[in-house]
């Protein structure tokens, strides 16, 4: 199953990539692949913005607006103005 692909915020700065392969290891939707000792985004639309790749990139080459993905938490944060949290 796939979700809304055009709004995904994942970005990879290939120039910073040191080729450690952690992003490809941690991604549960196989968004990354290693080509020529560099990471590449091969399925951006499958990204669920969990933030695992960003957190495990020792070169800070990955940015993604990671966060809680549930409607209830996000609606509540919209109403209260506080940060989204699953309670």
């Amino acid at each position: 199953m796939r979700y809304l692909e055009s709004v995904v915020t994942l970005q990879l700065d290939t120039a910073k990539c040191i080729g450690c392969g952690r992003c490809a290891e941690v991604c549960p939707h196989r968004v990354f692949a290693m080509n020529d000792k560099k990471a590449a985004i091969v399925d951006r639309g499958a990204c669920m913005e969990c933030g695992a790749c960003q957190k495990n990139c020792p070169a800070d080459a990955i940015t993604v607006q990671a966060g809680v993905g549930c409607a209830y938490a996000l609606i509540r944060s919209r109403i209260t103005g506080k940060e989204a949290c699953c309670g």
Binding site: M1, C47, P58, G69, A71
Partner: protein
């Protein structure tokens, strides 16, 4: 708190069994329904499975007892160290999202359990779905232990270990198939109890005022809640479109049409079903984004931007028609 072993040697890691008792299984059933879910915790500590040696692998997990029991069940016959860290009784994936299954807590527990004195190697097998909270290179800096991300599913631990701690693509990929969806649906329904109650009350009120049959008054409303919390989530891929709001609307319209076909409905009743029920189903189906493992926060935010006002207006029309229908019963 789960009491795991009767004998405790001071400082020595307790042994945990790999056979789940009837009591364990009853506990799982109840916790799936939401019973004392927050208190379903295992004491954070280092545990033994089988007879581990200083060379045996160390796996890290959360202290939600349902999680610990899944590990126990999957590790029968293996010799392992299990480092249960304090995630306040939350599963690995959700705790990683909050950061409680995280770098700091792993480092703290490695030190508290004096893991460097217990094992000779310097490797921690951390579940892959814990990675959003864990920074492998930071764990290395803080503890000297290398993080190896294990497979997504603990059931794959055995082949993972046999393959020299390498996971194939399939072990690294999260699935969200029908069995996963069925497992998380009961809690959706239980959490929706206030809505079920409101739906029941609204149905009964209508029935009391109206000439309609009992089921014709009660079933459309109750069914709309069940449609959004149970049917759409379980049959998720069968409902059209990717936004969950649209999947829910499809389910709600389907349900409304079924109710119109099943019970005698004039134009007003039909219009009431088609306006009141789909927005309720859509909202509940949208909430299921919180239970899936493939929806992005950016996507959920986009759905909120696109659909909040249309749904509110749609629902408001439904409420007005409901009141008009009630007034008709009351006047006649």
């Amino acid at each position: 708190m789960l009491k795991i072993a009767a004998i405790t040697l001071p400082g020595a890691p307790q042994k945990i069994t790999t056979t789940l008792s009837t009591r364990d299984r009853l506990g799982h059933l109840l916790v799936r329904l939401g019973w004392r879910r927050r208190q379903y915790r295992t004491e954070p500590a280092l545990y033994r499975i089988g007879s581990p040696t200083p060379e045996s692998p160390v796996i890290v997990t959360a202290n939600y007892t349902l999680t610990v029991d899944t590990v126990r069940d999957a590790c029968a016959g293996l010799d392992l160290w299990v480092l249960v860290i304090d995630t306040r009784g939350i599963n690995v994936w959700c705790a990683a999202g909050k950061g409680t299954f995280g770098t700091g807590e792993i480092a703290r527990m490695v030190k508290e359990a004096r893991l460097d004195k217990i094992v000779k190697h310097r490797r921690l097998i951390v579940p892959q779905l814990g990675a959003p909270g864990v920074s492998a290179h930071r764990v290395k800096q803080l503890t000297g232990f290398d993080v190896v991300y294990g497979p997504v599913r603990i059931a794959d631990l055995r082949p993972f270990l046999a393959a020299d701690m390498r996971a194939n693509d399939d072990m690294r990929r999260v699935r969200f198939d029908i069995a996963d969806r069925i497992a998380v649906v009961p809690i959706e329904l239980v959490m929706a109890w206030p809505l079920l109650l409101i739906a029941l009350a609204a149905g009964l009120w209508l029935w009391a005022l109206h000439a309609a049959t009992f089921w014709g008054a009660v079933l459309p409303l109750l069914g709309a809640v069940v449609m959004g919390t149970v049917v759409v989530p379980i049959a998720l891929p069968l409902f059209p479109f990717r936004p969950f709001v649209l999947k829910g609307l499809a389910g709600g319209i389907l349900w409304a049409l079924l109710m119109i076909a099943l019970f005698p409905a004039d134009l007003l009743t039909a219009a009431r079903h088609l306006t009141l029920l789909p927005p309720v189903t859509a909202y509940l189906a949208f909430n299921f984004t919180g239970s899936t493992a493939f929806t992005s926060p950016s996507g959920v935010k986009a759905e909120i931007r696109w659909f909040t006002w249309p749904l509110l207006v749609w629902f408001a029309v439904g409420v007005i028609l409901y009141i008009v229908d009630m007034a008709r019963g009351w006047l006649s």
